[in-house]
């Protein structure tokens, strides 16, 4: 085998299906939104060619057209919008079971995923939701690059210990943080065995600039001083039917992302689709430190037949 093999699902159809479904669910999510006129016009605004009428989703899920001149943003309290973002953010997207597959054979430490992620989540350069590590498992084994997001564990130690329900697991498998709730005790950081969590030790980057932006729990911005942040599987993008920031910005085809219920994952670079189970089966996919019982949702394909040179020995710093 030349490289870890994706199993392309019957041509282009699988992919279109998957993306279409993503789109439908994003629509449903928005439709459910109370106060949706604002939310919808803000997120899903669709102008018609003449610019006279716009389509918006009403609170009960109807798609209606209104003259643009009559459209005005409801001057609701920012809190109402936050409440709504909060409600749907905590609920998750019904019927989905998100999963990520990271092909270690393809990673050459381009760090584009990290850049895209840090830009989207208003992070400082030393704050990582995803961090690519140089790994070397034992003395004589070969080093390799390993991108490490949050694993969105199905038995998440971080969620268990949170005293105020500020970090929680949604029905679609994503573990999120509510930084309006977080008291900054950092017990979750202590509990996460994968060092996936970070803390806003200072005023976050650009906090002044974004301070009026309503808080979106699915994007965890604006970041807040004294609270936790971590990888969110780009829950905001998933809601819009798009792939996560890191996944779509990788130039090397490292990431696959999709829905375990449908058993489909899509490669962020090539956009080809594959059966998740087949991909894992054919390539010996595994989860990291699964003996801890955390049940990660991020799978790795082993770094065999690497297509890029291994990281230099001198860069390797093991545990110490």
């Amino acid at each position: 085998m030349e490289e870890n093999n994706p199993i392309i699902e019957s041509g282009d159809e699988g992919r279109r299906n998957f993306l279409k479904k993503l789109g439908i669910f994003a629509g449903v999510g928005v439709a459910a939104a109370a106060g949706a006129v604002y939310v919808a016009s803000d997120y899903e605004e669709k102008k018609n060619p003449e610019g006279k009428k716009v389509r918006v989703l009403t609170a009960d899920g109807q798609l209606v057209e209104v003259p643009e001149s009559e459209l005005q943003k409801i001057e609701q309290e920012e809190l109402d919008i936050e409440d709504e973002l909060q409600r749907r953010g905590r609920e998750g997207i019904a019927g989905k079971s998100w999963v990520m597959v990271i092909d270690l054979a393809k990673c050459r430490n381009a760090r584009m995923c990290i850049a895209a992620c840090q830009a989207a989540h208003q992070l400082r350069p030393e704050q990582y939701h995803i961090n690519t590590l140089v790994m070397k498992d034992s003395e004589h084994s070969a080093p390799y690059y390993m991108p490490k997001p949050c694993y969105h564990c199905d038995n998440p130690p971080c969620v268990k210990v949170c005293p105020v329900n500020a970090t929680f697991k949604r029905q679609d498998g994503i573990v999120l943080i509510d930084n309006l709730r977080c008291i900054g005790c950092r017990f979750c950081v202590a509990a996460c065995p994968y060092s996936a969590r970070i803390f806003n030790w200072f005023e976050p980057r650009d906090s002044e600039k974004y301070k009026d932006q309503p808080y979106d729990v699915e994007l965890n911005v604006p970041q807040k001083k004294g609270t936790i942040s971590k990888c969110l599987f780009s829950a905001d993008r998933l809601r819009k039917g798009e792939l996560p920031y890191c996944v779509s910005s990788c130039p090397n085809g490292v990431y696959w992302f999709g829905d375990m219920n449908e058993d489909v994952v899509v490669n962020g670079t090539t956009k080809e689709a594959a059966r998740f189970s087949q991909l894992i089966k054919d390539n010996g996919g595994y989860t990291y430190l699964e003996e801890l019982g955390t049940k990660p949702r991020v799978y790795y394909l082993p770094p065999k037949n690497r297509i890029f040179p291994a990281p230099g020995e001198e860069q390797v710093s093991s545990h110490s």
Binding site: K160, V161, C162, P163, C185, E203, G226, H319, S320
Partner: protein, 446 residues
């Protein structure tokens, strides 16, 4: 009691005891300087906290890896030290060990002060102290933090009762004696004396209440420190993921608690001239108690470090190497030897259980106990399962900042202030229990 005195003798004896024990409340020798010193530290501490509130927890050396540091070590230390109230008043009290009488109030005062400020330490560590009420509004029962909040609060309440209820007869005495004290102070005595007239029914009630509280506080005290240990043991981290953390912490708690009481005994005996009440024999006994506690703690240390070191599992190996021979070796061996093993060996010999040597040894034990908490909290976080990479150097090393040190000292200052206030308002050695023990007739103690 066989040395029962007649009513007249009783009155004389009581007056003498009262004179001895109340005198320190009236003399202000060096008191102002001491208070000034505490206030100065307090102001510095508040300024440090202001800086931390303004700029964020980043003013400390804490970062994403070592994210629990001196504050949390301090918290563990505070909870640990507060356990001494339970050991002296309850365990020894219920066993009817006679020599503890003059030490109970010291122990309870220390217990209450440390337990109260343990909560403050946690607030200092919080990223969003303004959201502290969320613990009650949105608390989730499956989080050990909630358990900790619950049991520490319970412990504070029971400790307070265990301090105040035995205070009732003394408050009555003070009300009679301290007629020249300011109005508010007399009001406190009046309130706390709860209409004490020294009738047998009242004695029965007070003894019964103390007994019930003494029993209640045992599980509560065990719970506060066991739950505190679970903040660590309930994680999957190397160095914390241990099944013996509960008893390990509890046994360590008694070590620092006994040491604190010996230090306080020495201080009160000399400054308050209480040589007739806190005697060499008390130091001797407490010294023996400390030997026992050190021995038990040493046993748990052996289990906690030697057994994993025998196996040297990969991740654990890095952790233990850092402790035994790496960057933590200095502190590790200093606390294990200088703060535990050597004090224990010395205290086995009687001359070292005299007041001064026992006091000095206790200071070593106490300082060792504080650093031991740091050794439990910090090094583990420097050895996560996944390597620490692509972060600035200061994310890996942990060098506490000035603000952080000030804010570690601040709650200690708080403890000293509480102890100072209590020892200024009330006799630090209980009058009525001492009188009772010396055969004074119960009916005159009012």
């Amino acid at each position: 009691m066989d040395n029962h005195l007649s009513l007249e003798e009783s009155r004389q004896k009581l007056t003498q005891i009262e004179n001895d024990l109340i005198r320190p409340l009236k003399s202000h020798n060096g008191f102002e300087m001491w208070v000034l010193f505490l206030l100065l530290l307090l102001i510095l501490g508040f300024y440090a906290y202001y800086l931390q509130l303004r700029d964020g927890l980043g003013v400390t050396a804490l970062r994403d890896y070592v994210q629990w540091g001196m504050y949390i070590s301090n918290f563990v230390f505070f909870v640990a030290t507060s356990l001494i109230g339970m050991l002296i008043t309850s365990v020894l009290g219920l066993l009817r060990i006679p020599w503890i009488t003059p030490l109970t109030r010291i122990a309870e005062t220390i217990a209450l002060a440390f337990a109260m400020f343990a909560g403050i330490v946690i607030i200092i560590d919080m990223g969003r102290p303004d959201r502290f009420p969320y613990l009650f509004l949105h608390g989730r029962l499956q989080s050990p933090i909630l358990w900790d909040v619950t049991v520490v609060t319970t412990y504070v309440i029971i400790s307070m009762l265990l301090l105040l209820i035995p205070m009732i007869p003394d408050a009555a005495i003070l009300r009679r004696r301290m007629t020249d004290a300011p109005k508010w102070q007399q009001a406190i005595y009046k309130f706390l004396s709860a209409n004490w007239i020294a009738v047998p029914e009242q004695y029965a009630l007070i003894k019964k209440s103390i007994r019930v509280l003494a029993i209640l506080i045992i599980p509560t005290a065990l719970a506060i420190h066991t739950v505190t240990s679970w903040l660590f043991a309930s994680t999957l981290r190397v160095g914390w993921d241990s099944t013996i953390f509960g008893p390990y912490f509890v046994s360590g708690a008694f070590v620092s608690g006994v040491a604190v009481v010996i230090i306080a005994m020495y201080f009160f005996r000399n400054n308050y001239k209480l040589h007739n009440y806190i005697t060499d024999a008390h130091f001797n006994r407490m010294g023996q108690l400390l030997v026992l506690m050190c021995f038990i703690y040493l046993y748990f240390n052996l289990n906690e470090y030697f057994v994993p070191a025998y196996k040297m599992r990969k991740a654990e190996g890095h952790h233990l190497e850092a402790l035994f021979t790496g960057n933590w070796a200095g502190i590790f061996w200093a606390t294990q030897l200088g703060g535990l093993l050597i004090p224990m060996l010395l205290l086995i010999f009687k001359p070292f259980r005299k007041p001064l040597p026992a006091f000095i040894i206790s200071v070593f034990v106490l300082v060792g106990a504080w650093f031991k908490r740091l050794l439990i909290v910090v090094p583990t976080q420097q050895h996560p399962y996944l390597p620490i990479q692509n972060v600035p150097e200061n994310f890996i090393t942990y060098k506490p900042t000035g603000v952080e040190i000030m804010l570690t000292i601040l709650p200690m200052v708080g403890v000293l202030i509480v102890i100072t206030i209590i020892a200024k308002l009330f006799p630090i050695v209980p009058i009525w229990e001492t009188a009772h023990e010396q055969g004074v007739d119960e009916s005159v103690i009012k």
